[in-house]
Symmetry: C2
Subunit: 433 residues, 2 copies
């Protein structure tokens, strides 16, 4: 049995164990330690899961899709917290996290691609999300290396990026500076952890730890590198529709361009020829110059998917003292700060020992995220799962039959009531720029 | 100064130093040791050069191209030696080398591809090389997983394969068993080697060691792996023309499929997005099932090219005691056994101390391969060099202006007179099957 927290001084403080040292778990640990809790993170290799492969797009607008208003509201609120969060992590962790606010260009190659993209843009604009359609000439003013084949696009100024491979070490350093212990150990059963409160933030590993329908959704991602070590030829995050295929390009200042990602209903980590082919083809169609780039890495990871694409956040039914913060699917980086804030608020906002933990006191506004909805969810699996990269990354969740969502899931603004912040466009219109 | 050979017993035997531990150098060392010479091979990492990336096609027929009759004759003779050579290496080295005689299918996807391929087939058949045109239905009987788009093809039964990554360790073991010493050391100058005879077999490194116009020609190669660990869905070596791009697929029994190769006039070892894209696209167009394969490796190496695509084999001008065996370009694996035989014959066939080494006694029939032709060669570089994979691998040498070959290079059968063996079709017609 592992024992969370230190012996010695601070013995009287609440003891929190976080199982899982990805961005979500580390941010929770950091925030809770800042509120005075004694915290230990358990992970055999912090940051080695999905975040090691993730591109780090922070895209509440381009990712807003039909039938996911709760998720969109959560993501919008999450994005609003990122500028301050990034600045604070960089100071506390003593290093850069690669947070970049150049915004995102969405581009479409063929007339069919434009039609498909426009359908979503219309929806996103109906939510007053900040999105400006651009002419091809306007797109090329912003990114001169875009293919001359690009026929349409839009600018999402509030869709930013961070580098997860810089974020995780910064979070580890920040958490340690706040007193968090990071134990490089595998936790196979929750009963192996001795703590007042246990938070399960173990990504796809949460399925067995917490008995929740979290399933692995494989994503394959490439990393290109500009020849000669300079910065890439593009500056914005570029999300493209290319001959029916989707791809995103995330340029880093250091010359790296992340190219992603497949969305596959399988749990292996094999890099396949077909996925690499599709990603490279779409990337080179959008920005031909990328063909000259080094293919520096090809890697796969599994995202923790849930039946309704919403994370599980709240008390684990029948397990007093156990909170769940997992199932962030394709949005773990974006949602890490807000998840951490919500957990810290719940654990320290009421009684310091965690009155919310019995399940009864969990904030009603967060009800849509509660893990107890899992009992009413049939696991949903797409039937097209084996084909790599055949789904636009921005729309994969739309393939899920949202009509099967449990009846008590609000279709409207329930979490936004609680989650709305100063920049929430659902509540306050477009104040993103 | 390095000292080749052992002290102690055998002191009276000739001492041979081979600089370069690729297949050519190792085969030379082995053969010379078998003839009673005391041999040391110098290489910091034997088998780490071009052979570590090479696919190992043994293709005298499919590689026979316009204006290279000397090279074709040499390759035909070399291929005839392979069955016995492979068997002998396997016994002496105590391990399998992956020699496979399933033959090669040449396939073409579009009408343009068929026309381009047919032009070369006609030439190859005019040399009586064993090549049988096949209908698409006949191709698919041999390889059911070929794309239904394949419109034409041919069967080259004498074009075989070997696995260079198995061959090198087998050669090292065979050479050691015959008394060869392998010294893991870098040789930067020939004067650093103390031996009666020095053979330079250092691939692209031969340029600085021997002052010859050997240039690096980059090749990028992928290795795929069948899912589940079974054998690949194809059995033959497949050389394809796919929408104007060339690719070859070399299936191993263990599930690996080697996909190659670019031909680029540059010396770096960077794996580029464009090259991987082109190779994967062509491979998947020919055998769609390969999209499901793991992309296990992408790697580049440089082949040692010469101005006329013929290797340099013979005495180094002005350096008595130094032989050169390099510049094998894209054919180093195929030509290793014959190169070794020719060197061993030259060194031990006449006076045992190497009468050939003064240069005067070098067999006249091998004159076309003599390094002293370099003085009359202007280095030839293709102007299309930067574009990856845009040249059919079987035809790249045809782009070289053969009209610039020195006047004393025979256009006909000179080396075949000496090199012809029992299987030489130039001399004796089609006796390959």
């Amino acid at each position: 049995m592992l024992t969370a927290g230190r012996s010695g001084s601070g013995e009287g403080k609440p003891v929190l164990a976080v199982v899982g040292g990805g961005p979500v778990g580390l941010a929770i640990a950091w925030r809770c330690a800042q509120r005075g809790m004694r915290v230990t993170v358990y992970d055999p290799a912090p940051g080695s899961g999905a975040s090691a492969v993730a591109a780090g797009m922070l895209s509440p607008v381009a990712e807003a899709t039909f039938g996911e208003r709760d998720l969109t509201a959560l993501m919008v609120n999450a994005a609003a917290r990122w500028p301050a969060f990034a600045a604070e992590v960089e100071v506390a962790g003593g290093r850069d996290v690669g947070y970049r606010t150049d915004g995102t260009l969405i581009v479409a190659l063929t007339a069919d691609d434009v039609a498909e993209a426009r359908r979503l843009w219309t929806y996103q604009q109906s939510l007053d999300l900040p999105l400006t359609p651009l002419l091809p000439t306007e797109l090329r003013v912003r990114e001169p290396q875009l293919s001359t084949r690009v026929r349409g696009g839009a600018y999402a100024p509030a869709d930013h990026q961070v580098d997860p491979r810089r974020l995780v070490p910064a979070l580890v350093a920040a958490a340690r500076a706040a007193g968090v212990r990071v134990e490089r150990r595998q936790v196979d059963r929750l009963s192996d952890v001795d703590a007042d409160v246990v938070v399960v933030a173990a990504g796809t590993g949460s399925a067995t730890l917490a008995g929740l329908p979290v399933r692995p959704v494989k994503g394959q991602v490439l990393r290109l590198r500009a020849p000669g070590g300079g910065p890439p030829v593009v500056r914005h995050v570029i999300r493209g529709y290319a001959d029916g295929r989707s791809v995103y390009l995330v340029p880093r200042v250091d010359g790296e361009v992340v190219v992603g990602a497949t969305v596959e209903e399988r749990g292996d980590l094999t890099v396949t020829a077909g996925a690499v082919l599709d990603l490279l083809r779409a990337a080179a169609e959008l920005v031909p110059e990328l063909a000259e780039y080094e293919l520096a890495e090809a890697r796969a990871a599994t995202r923790p998917g849930t039946p309704d694409n919403l994370p599980y956040l709240g008390p684990l039914p029948g397990r007093p003292g156990v909170l769940v913060a997992t199932g962030h699917y394709r949005h773990g980086i974006l949602l890490a700060p807000i998840t951490a804030d919500l957990v810290a608020d719940a654990l320290t906002g009421g009684e310091p020992t965690g009155g919310a933990l019995a399940g009864d006191d969990w904030p009603a506004e967060l009800a849509p995220l509660r893990p107890d909805r899992a009992a009413r969810q049939a696991p949903v699996r797409r039937t097209t799962g084996q084909a790599p990269a055949d789904l636009p990354t921005g729309q994969a969740p739309a393939d899920l039959p949202t009509g099967q969502a449990p009846a008590d899931l609000p279709t409207g603004q329930a979490p936004a009531d609680r989650l709305s912040g100063p920049g929430d466009p659902v509540e306050e219109g477009n104040r993103w720029n």
